[in-house]
Amino acid sequence: MNKRAIKAAFPLTIPVMAGYLVLGMGFGLLLQRNGYSFLWAGLMSLTIYAGSMQYVAVDLLSGGASLISSALMTLMINARHLFYGLSMLEKYRKVKGAKKAYLIHALTDETYSLVCSAQPPEGVDSGAFYFWISFLDQCYWILGSILGGLLGQVIPFDTTGVDFAMTALFVVIFTEQWLTHKNHLPALIGLGVSFICLLLFGPDSFIIPSMVAIALLLTLLRHRTEEEEAA
């Protein structure tokens, strides 16, 4: 039964494999450059397993951020997961026990987009099918990040500037969201509010005020935003 589930799941995960190997390697390389070996990359990809968060975590670790600000940063960046969970309640309802716990832990953006759209073929247990999609995805991510960490140790050329990969990741996701959403108000609020907070509070302490102001402003502007969404 498992064999059929793997057979059905594997082809669906191939696009994620390419992305996770490359982005994972970028993460491992960045982490290694900041003084954390491939073992740290592997540990973080195993336990945290959230792409953009792990890139930010490199910053938090090397900058010696406090546990409180690390927790708040994680909460804001991963708040979107709350909503992935909401839309998976029905699909995962029949899955039980440890398998369900793992499915919830492994619900990244990419895995979410796969399990959201994929249907298990006739006669394949849906729990096993979702498990293999999730598990294979995490394997690619762990493998990529460990490879990146190892590569960082042996790489002979000057890697100054490779940390721009993180900026590029967020700029590209931002652009992609801009292109797919009709309503640009939330994106503009995010950019504008953070920029103003950066000027007011300085680079070391603007994140928390930004988060609070963004959440407040979005809540206050709810009716306007929803009208634009409907338009």
């Binding site: 336990t47 690390s70 997961h81 709350l82 969970g85 990969a165 680079p203």
Partner: protein, 110 residues
């Protein structure tokens, strides 16, 4: 284990636990077929775009526009990432090209 290793481990642990919490909470709270409040659903739709904007600012927070090279390498590489992405819509290509461009700019040009 020195102090730094311990505090790094604690940071990783906290990030892992909070990440798990954000994934687990909906199943704990709404597992019993309750419809989530409209405000939660609304924030779920709009927060991701806003937070991504915040993260872009976060990444560029240390640029000093008053001193050489005036944030020019960042500006050029960001423009390349956006332009390439609008044109080709390939995430990996946009990231790879703009990162290599940035590396060349900071190593060889500025």
């Amino acid at each position: 284990m020195d102090h730094n290793t311990l505090s790094s481990l604690l940071t990783v642990l906290v990030i892992a636990l909070v990440t798990l919490l954000t994934r687990l909470l909906p199943f704990l709270v709404f597992g019993g077929r309750k419809e989530p409040p409209a405000i939660i659903l609304y924030l779920g739709r709009v927060l991701p775009c806003a937070i991504m904007g915040m993260l872009v600012v976060y990444c560029l927070r240390s640029i000093s526009p008053a001193a050489a090279p005036y944030g020019l390498p960042e500006l050029m590489a960001v423009a390349a990432a956006v332009g390439l992405h609008v044109w080709k819509r390939s995430t990996l290509l946009s990231i790879a090209v703009s990162t290599v461009l940035y590396m060349v700019l900071v190593q060889a040009v500025f």
